[in-house]
Structure formats: structure tokens, C-alpha cells
Symmetry: D2
Subunit: 347 residues, 4 copies
């Protein structure tokens, strides 16, 4: 490992800038004069490419800049004032968004998740019990369901799990929203039994994460059936989520969805993650969760970690009672084999 590149960081999947092709394209298009607010030609092209990649020719596509913002805006646009959004108790909106959903006036109704996933049976049980409760009109009425794919624990839903969730949502007329901040890393996983077009058909709205998958910033919200709520543009503006230079997201997503770049770089992250897993396995280091995506959660002793000090960065996820640490090592589009080898050499 080149000394000036040290320490090597596995703390997250947003440590680097953007995929070089994005920077090239920003430079090439820099002086083209274009309208603002997403009406530029790059955003138009990007929307067309996303419609094609998702197999949704009618889709409404909007570009926002970050995950919390996107979650808050989409959720607020879909809920009536008296409604809340159902999520797993580990869901990003329930934990790490500083109350952005509540800022918009809505409760996050949490159900216990299993390794980050919301279970269809649990959802059904909750909804049945809710409407069986005589006092339900005094409570926050469930208005939609939020899941993340992959979840905050790196796990993914199987096709059949999504179908079960969707079936219950349909029965109760609840839109299903998929937070795809790391969507590419989910779809590229060998454990994933679903394609992007299939996923698009199993929800009412989702977003394709850019920030964590090779872009400088940006999330592409997709309403697969052209079912964006009325005046969603104005809602985005009201939420402070409308970029004047919409071209910044436009160019990035146009590039990511050209020549399959989005999936190609996602696959790199997954390959690196699987290699990472192998490194831990070879050393008998157990995993907290058997994650099939780019986040890995090895349980490390202080002794395991000592050689990494100052050389490799990772995140501490949880302190176990036996003083071991659940750590998180994240790979990304930018992770290299060299970085992994360096880690392996230290462990």
C-alpha cells in the first residue's frame, strides 16, 4: 500500500468523491448553457435511461440530493396530515435522520425488525390489531410502509418477501416505499433474486441511491407508474430539495445509467465485500449478521483490532457484553483489491 494513501478507510461507502467517468462528463458539459431545476437536457436524458433500466416507460423520475431529504420529501408527499409511516425499528428514518419525518408532522410507527427487515406477518398483525382496536381513530393512522433495500444491516429482501409485503400493503391501500440509498449494492448481490424492473413493480415509489454508489450526491426518486403525487415538484422545492443546477444530478445519473455503469460499479463493491468476508472467515472472525451486500459486520476482539490501529479505519457498531466489538467494514464502488490485501496482511 502506497504510504500516502494510508490509513485505508472502510468506515463507509461515501469516503471518496465520484466515479471518474462522472467527473469527466461534468467537465465535458460544463459550459453548455442549460435551464435550471431539472429541465436541462442531461436530466431529461437521465430520466429516459432510468425509465428504460427500470422497465417503467411511464415512470416519473425526480433527482434530489441526499437520503434523509429524499425520505422526508417522499414520505410527506404521500401521507395525509393524520397519517404516519410504518418502518422497522432499525429503519434509517426511525433512527438516524434527526426526526426529519416528524419535522414534517408525521409519526414513524415502528415495528420490530429482523436483521433490519420488516416482516410481512408482523406488518399484517400490526394492521389487524390496529383496526381491531376500538380507539384506532385516536391513534396515528398508518398511511404507508417504508423499507430499505438493502437494509441498514446489509440484508436484502427476497422477491417473495417483497411480494408478501406488497400484498399486505395493497390490502390496506398503503403505498410501499423502498429506500434504495444502496440499491445497487443490493441488486448486485449474489443473494438477490430480483431485478431492478421487478423491484420497481413491487413498490409504489423507490429511489436509486447515487451518493453511496459512485455519485458526488444525488438520489433518483422513481414513481414507477407515473404515479407521482400532484405537484411533487413544488413539494420538492418546499422541502429545500430542488437544485437550481439540476444538471449536477442530471449529468451524474445520465452517466451512471450509461453502459450499465451503475450496476458495474455496484458489482465491484459486492465482489470486494465477498472477498472481505473471506478474509474474516479465514481468520475465524465471526460475523454479527450474514450480510450479502457491501456492509460487513465482523465481531472483533481488541486483539484482532490492535494491528489495524492507525492503518485501517472501520466503524464501531455495537459493544457486546463480553467486550468484543461489532464493527462495520463497508466496501464501495471505489474499493480496490489492493486495499483488501493490505487489510488481510495486517489481520
Amino acid at each position: 500500500m502506497n504510504k500516502e494513501m494510508l490509513p485505508v478507510s472502510f468506515t463507509c461507502d461515501y469516503c471518496e468523491g465520484a466515479h471518474p467517468r462522472i467527473l469527466e462528463r461534468l467537465a465535458e458539459t460544463n459550459f453548455a448553457q442549460e435551464p435550471g431545476y431539472g429541465f436541462d437536457s442531461f436530466s431529461k436524458s437521465a430520466r429516459a435511461r432510468i425509465r428504460e433500466a427500470t422497465g417503467c416507460p411511464e415512470a416519473d423520475v425526480f433527482f434530489l440530493t441526499g437520503g434523509t431529504q429524499t425520505n422526508a420529501t417522499v414520505i410527506d408527499s404521500l401521507l395525509h396530515g393524520f397519517e404516519g409511516v410504518i418502518a422497522a425499528n432499525t429503519g434509517h428514518i426511525a433512527v438516524h435522520e434527526s426526526g426529519a419525518v416528524e419535522f414534517g408532522g408525521h409519526k414513524v410507527i415502528t415495528l420490530p425488525g429482523k436483521e433490519g427487515k420488516l416482516n410481512a406477518d408482523d406488518l399484517n398483525t400490526y394492521l389487524e390489531a390496529f383496526y381491531a382496536d376500538e380507539a384506532w381513530e385516536h391513534m396515528v393512522i398508518p398511511g404507508m410502509v417504508y423499507i430499505s433495500f438493502p437494509t441498514e444491516y446489509g440484508t436484502i429482501y427476497s422477491r417473495s418477501e417483497l411480494e408478501s409485503l406488497k400484498a399486505i400493503c395493497s390490502r390496506y391501500k398503503l403505498p410501499l416505499f423502498i429506500d434504495g440509498a444502496r440499491l445497487g449494492y443490493g441488486l448486485a448481490s449474489p443473494a438477490c433474486d430480483i431485478t431492478l424492473p421487478q423491484l420497481a413493480r413491487l413498490c409504489d415509489v423507490f429511489y436509486i441511491g447515487g451518493t453511496k454508489v459512485g455519485a458526488l450526491c444525488g438520489e433518483a426518486v422513481v414513481f414507477p407508474g407515473g404515479n407521482a403525487p400532484a405537484h411533487f415538484f413544488t413539494t420538492v422545492k418546499q422541502h429545500g430539495a430542488l437544485m437550481a443546477k439540476g444538471r449536477l444530478c442530471g449529468v451524474q445519473f445520465d452517466t451512471l445509467f450509461t453502459d450499465d455503469l451503475y450496476m458495474q460499479i455496484s458489482r465491484n463493491a459486492i465482489k470486494m465485500a465477498m472477498d472481505l468476508k473471506a478474509i474474516f472467515a479465514a481468520r475465524g472472525i465471526p460475523l454479527y449478521i450474514d450480510s450479502p451486500t457491501n456492509q460487513q459486520f465482523p465481531i472483533m476482539t481488541q486483539k484482532d483490532l490492535a494491528p489495524l490501529e492507525g492503518k485501517v479505519l472501520y466503524e464501531i457498531w455495537e459493544h457486546l457484553p463480553d467486550r468484543r466489538l461489532v464493527t462495520r467494514f463497508a466496501t464501495s464502488w471505489a474499493t480496490t483489491a489492493e486495499q483488501l490485501e493490505y487489510l488481510a496482511s495486517l489481520l
Copy 2:
């Protein structure tokens, strides 16, 4: 004019991408692994440079991505729930932000502006009348004052006007907030009698606009006296305004505040605007407002505009009763002499 660059657009100051030095710097730094959320080294450096440029060594500096978002976040962070923000009736927050301030629960209390500016006497008269009204506790209590510099009409406040506003704000303990979406274009104007450090001392918080002054996105919020409200970081996150890759803004502002680039490119916009003014004057085309900054408002007849069709773009600002149009022509950091010559050749 090179045919492939046609039409030439003067519609706004965010038609192009970013100043090339910014793109270069993004490319150079692209693979450096950095922490997220503004803790990267570029953001740190940018904050230091901004503290120096503003002459505020204690300043708290935060980077957000766009103007509406910044206004809504700063205002919400400074107001109590029962308070509103005072603005000129033409203020951006009162007109073109889709109710982002109201979304946060606050009323925009509008006073009639003069060419976009809030007058200190009008402010004083309003505040005196407010507290003289027996029913004031049944009304929205004024909690801060918002002005833009330059205003939405391209006008700027003189030093003495700012001092008068600040004096009244101080008397009523109202924070004064300056929306500097186009700050550079104000400071670079020959009509401006104030420097950046002087402006910083005459308000409680302001922001340095990046999106309209050479950046891809980004606004730098400055609390000059280190007077950011407690937990402003969390407020930014809650408002969906915290970038995961804070480096994107960090690199941009670090570049803009290196070698005086921000003011240098602002001066280009002003030189171009003054030349533009001369072009209109030479042809006897009157101006709606005598703007000393980068936005010019020529009053055009249909005959004046006919030769521009398909070749030069501008914005229609207002329809006059005599069928003439108030138009807006904006220059920017990117405007070239060649573009002006082309416009002149057509008129």
C-alpha cells in the same frame, strides 16, 4: 458566435456548471478517503479560509446545498415556534420558495419593499405599531429580519442602510439574516460601499452563495460571532440539508476562497453587467430598475426582442400595460465578452 453555442442564454446566473478550477480540484482530490458530513479536510480548510475572508476568526461556518434550503434551515433554527420572520414583500422567502418557511411553522411577515429593499424606517414603524397594538400577543411575534444582498431586483444596500437596519434589529433583539445567494455580485459592484468583513459585522448570520457564483451547488452559512444556535448540525440534518459527501461543498468553497477566486469571478459578472447596461443605453432601451449588479432589467418592445428570437435567451419579468416587457438579463462568472458582442450585434 460559434454556432454550436447558440442560443446564448442570459436567463439566469446558474446556466453553466462550475468554474473550471473547481472541477479540476474535484478531480485531483477524488480518491482521497475522507470522513463525511463536513468533517473532511477540504471543508475544514474552506471554513478556515472563509473565517479569514470575512475577518471573523470565531465564525461558525456550515455548508448547505441550495438557497431555499439554507433560508428555511437558518430561519427555523433562529425562531421560536410563535415567531415569524420579517421580509420585504418581494423577498425570495416570501415569493419563490414554495412556502418552505411556512412548512417549518413560521409566518413570513411582509413589509412593502422599495426596489427589493427593506427600509429601516418602515421596519421601525412596523415594530412600533406592533407592540402598540393591544392585541399583539394574539399575533405572530416578529422574531428576526431577513434581507437579501443583492436583492431579487439586483439592488444593494449601502453601508448606512445596513447600519440603520441593524440598529433597529438590535433595539428589538431581532437577529438580522442576510441571504447572500448572489453575495459576490453585490460586493463586486462599483456601487457597493461595504466589504465582506464589514457586512459580516452588520448581521447575525448570512450566507455566501455558491450555486450562483461559480459552484455546482452549495451555500456557506456564516455565524460571524461563533453564534450558531445550539445543535445547528442536527437542525441541518433534520432539514435534509446535510450532505453525506460534505467534501463536495468543502472542495468547492475551498477553491472559491483560494487566491480570491470568489471575488475575481464575481467581478467578471459585474464588468459584463455594466457592459450590458451600456449596450442597452446605446440603443435607447430604458431600464426598469437601475441595478448595479449582475441582473439587468431592460424594458423591451416586441420590435426590440424580435431579432433575439432563437438566438438569445432572457427572462420575462413583467408585462407592462403598454405591452412592453420588463425582461431580465443576468450575467455571471461565466459570461464572456463574446456573448455580449453577439447580443449587441443582434439588437
Copy 3:
């Protein structure tokens, strides 16, 4: 005038408790055990009587406790997040409700009123201009229209004025909401050319004010066509406007709508107001506004007011430049001829 009743107050129409028949009925029904939250038999009966009095057999009727609360709840229930409510600039929601509408996230879009009234042509001009503005999607989208009947200045809309407003609302699909805090005093005016059923048909929702017309508290919200928004009950609860002892409003409105009591006591207020007007006229005291309802606005000199000191109370409405005062004298269901005679004797 009995000394112990001094001073006599004309400051407002909520100086006394409730009409005695209401108190009697509260006492008679006091120990009947009834369900809460408006499911009691009195509320049911009151709703039936209101449906009959308004000629709206399908109407949805809800009882809330006060005016600001009712306005905020109804408005929030009808607007999408990105919408605002149009009102005259003198409208109660725009001035004297401490920003309750903005607390719910919505802008009050004000148009200049004429003697408190919103003019249909002004409304139309605003709406045409709004949608003609290229930037309308960046603005707060008008979502409904609010008027008060009578207005804050005591004036009332004629049938034809209401029809004009309704026609424009219909064209733009905007619900029309009538704040009837003093509804009885409007309907009982000799200048009123509309009945309660006619008024009900000319709007989408209105409320029948109780607090200012003989009740201890309470406003009856009527959606004439059974067009209450879904889950309005929950919205009322969420807004803190649902009474546990719904019977309190139920008994009161049941009484007010028995034997025409509501209109009968409203007529008393109007008769007293017309007599009051005559008292001022006889003394050459001019009126600021020629109000046909229970609020009168005599323009008084200090000399006129001197004899009232300590004996008669009124409200100061405005200070005129010539040092005269616009005062407000309000009559109510409780005003007596004896009180007027006493005032007359002093002037």
C-alpha cells in the same frame, strides 16, 4: 343602571357566560351517563337539528371549541402540504391567530380586502396572474379560499357576492370556507339577503359560531354535502380540538338549535346594534364603516369619550391622524335596552 353592574361593557360579544337556557339544559342533563368524543346523544341530536336548520340532510357536523382552533383544523384538513389558503389581508387567520395556520405548515395568501371582504374580481385576477406566472410551481399553490361572515369589520357578503366567489372557486377547484364565528349576527342583519340553507349551498364548509353567539364555547363545523375529508375526526384529535366531554358542545348546540334560539338571540344583538347606531347618529358621531351587524365603529373624539370613562367600556380600533379614535362597540345576544339607554344618557 344598577350600580353593581357597572361598568357596562361593549368591548366584545363574549363578555358574558351563556344563554340561560343552555345552563338550564346542562344542569338537567348533568348526570346522564354518556359516551365521550361527540358520540353522546346530545351531540347526535344537535347534529340532526343543524342538518335540518341548514337544509343539508347529508351534512357532516363536528363540534370544536374555539374559532382559531376551528380555522386551523379545517384549513389543515383541506390543504395539501404545498398549498396555502387565500384570505383578505384583514382576515382573522391572517392577523389574529398567532400563526396557527402557519403552525400547520401553510401560508395564508393575502389579497387586499375591501371593508374586510374578499372581492371576487380580485380573487380572479390573482388566480389568473398566478397561473400565468412561469414560476408558479416555485410558489405556494392556492388550495382554498377563506372568508368570514360577517367579516372582522362587521360587513357581510351579499348573495350575489358569494355566488361570484363560489363561481371562481369552482372554476379553480378551490374549496370555499366560511368562518362563521358570528354567523348568527350576519344572518340576522336586515342587510342580509341570504338564508342559512342558501349560505350552506354556496360553500364547501363553514362553521356556526357558538362562543360569540350565546354559548360558553363551541363552534359547529358543517360540511354541507357530507364532504368532510377522510378521517376528519382524527385530524380534530391531532389538532387538540376533540373534547372528551363532547356533550358540552352537544348540549349547547342542541339548545341553540331548538325553537330557533340561535337566530332569536342573534336578532336581539342586531336590534341592539341598530339602536346603538341610532344613538351615535343622533349625536352626529360618524361611523368608520357602515356595519349592518353587531359590531359598530364610531369615530370618537376625546371629548365624546370623556363621559364614558369608568362607566362604559369599548375597544379602541385605530388611532386616526387627527387624534380621533375609531372605536368598536359590540352588542351581543346578552345586550339589553337598559345598557343602551345608559350609554345614551352619558353621551
Copy 4:
């Protein structure tokens, strides 16, 4: 039992109107002309009496109309935008207020309660873990603590439990708010080891419930140290919680705090509750929770309940897996020995 009084309802403690002395006093004072909005002489007197009863001569006292409204208003007045309120997961604000706290923009942070009570150790553990979490600035920051006394399960905190909670709140500078919707029933319990003045000193704000303890409506918010947030009056108005006829609450609380009426009628409810408990005990009917206050939770079989059908009303609280029902029987200020005897005769 008099047939016309059937069925007898134990469903809640707000089945009847008001204590007769309140109705008498409303009648006696009905025609006194008084200012609105709580400036009437009755409210002033009531505030003085409450200051005396609570032993807090400096207390700020405000009258609102209902529990949800009071909770939402007090909480919103005390929290910054980025803060949430901590409550037991069974707390009224977390469950049965239709998201009124979230409507104000704040998250209810729930901790598992024990029989409705928030445990000081659990609170401490949560707070320690919160600030130990590296990502705490990305989360909702705890800004106050909410407890109810008695709880939703009829349980009460001991003096030492309150002291422990208060100590932790003080350490973290979190205001402690006590929801006293049924305060009298808690204080009157034989199990209660705390007086009203002692309770007042152990919190930062609490309210004395009127609606459930003999009033038609009304809750008295007490800031014991005169520590109401600035402009709390305006906040109350903004929340739609300010009564025009403030006298309605004023007269009621003035009466309730004359001659110890509030505690006297509370003691009736507790005596009846203890007799009720004895009735169940005598028949071997187990209790779900050993509640020392006015709510009792007998676990009943279908056979137990059969004789009550159509004659005695109660609430179903929970369905147990063995098909037994947890029921709730509530006594109140109005419950009579005759009613209990009737119930006993049926069981």
C-alpha cells in the same frame, strides 16, 4: 337501581357533566361582564387558589381545555425544533393522541414502561447510551421527559421514584413534565406518598386535570417556579388552545379549588375504586394490574361478563390468548355506592 339510569357506565371517568357546584357557580356568575382570554376575575382567583394549593406562590398558571391539546402545547413550548420528548411506550402522547406531538414537529422517544411507569434506571441507561453513540447528532436529541400521574394503567409513582427521575432529568438538563389528567385520583390514593406541593417541586411543569375530575372541560397548566416559556400565551393561542371565554375554565377551577372540592371529589372516586376492587376480590376475579387509583382492570371470563350485558358498561382493554378479557372499570367523582351495589348484585 332506578331503571331510567340504566345501563350504569364504568367505561370512563368523563361520562357525566360537572360537579353540581360548578354548574351553580356558572349560573351565578353568568351575566357578569368580564374580559376574555383568561383575564377575567374568576381565572385570576382560580390562579391564586392553585398557587396556594400547590404551595407555589410564583407559579405561572394557564387554563387549557383538554388533555391532548395541553400535552401538545406544553411539549411544543419546551422543545427546540431538533428535540424530542421521552415517554413510556404506553404514555398517552405515544399512543392515543393521534400524533399531536408529531404534528408539532417532534418525535416521541419511547422507552419500555413498567405498568405504565417510566423507570429512572431505564431513563438513565437510555441517556448514557444516547450520548455514547458516535452518531447522536444524527438522531433526535432528547429535550424533555413526559410522565403521567397516575399513568394510563392507574399506577402512580412513589415520591422516591419521582425524585430519582427528577435527579436524572436535572443531570441532563431535561424539563420533567407531569401529565395530570387524573391528578386528583393519584393524590387521593391511599398508596400515594406525596402531596400536591411536593409533586409541584419535583417537576418543571405539570397540569391539574379538570375534564376527568369534575369539570366540563379544562386543564390547569402549572409552571411551579414561574418558569413558563416566554410568550406561552401566544403559543397557547397558536395551538388553538386559548378560550375566548376564559371564564369557563376560570369559574370551574375556582370552584374546584374552593373548600378542597378537587381533593374531596377525588377521594370519592378512590373510595369507590377500592370498593370495586373488593367486589372483584370477593368473587375471585383477578386484576391485571394492582391499580391504587380510579381505574381497575379485572380479568373477566365471558361467563363473568354475561350478567352485565345491557346493564353495566365497561371498556375492553385487551384480549388475552386464553380468551379472557382484560376489562377496565373506571370510577369517578360521580360514582355512587348505589352503582357499585348494582354491579355487585349482578356479578
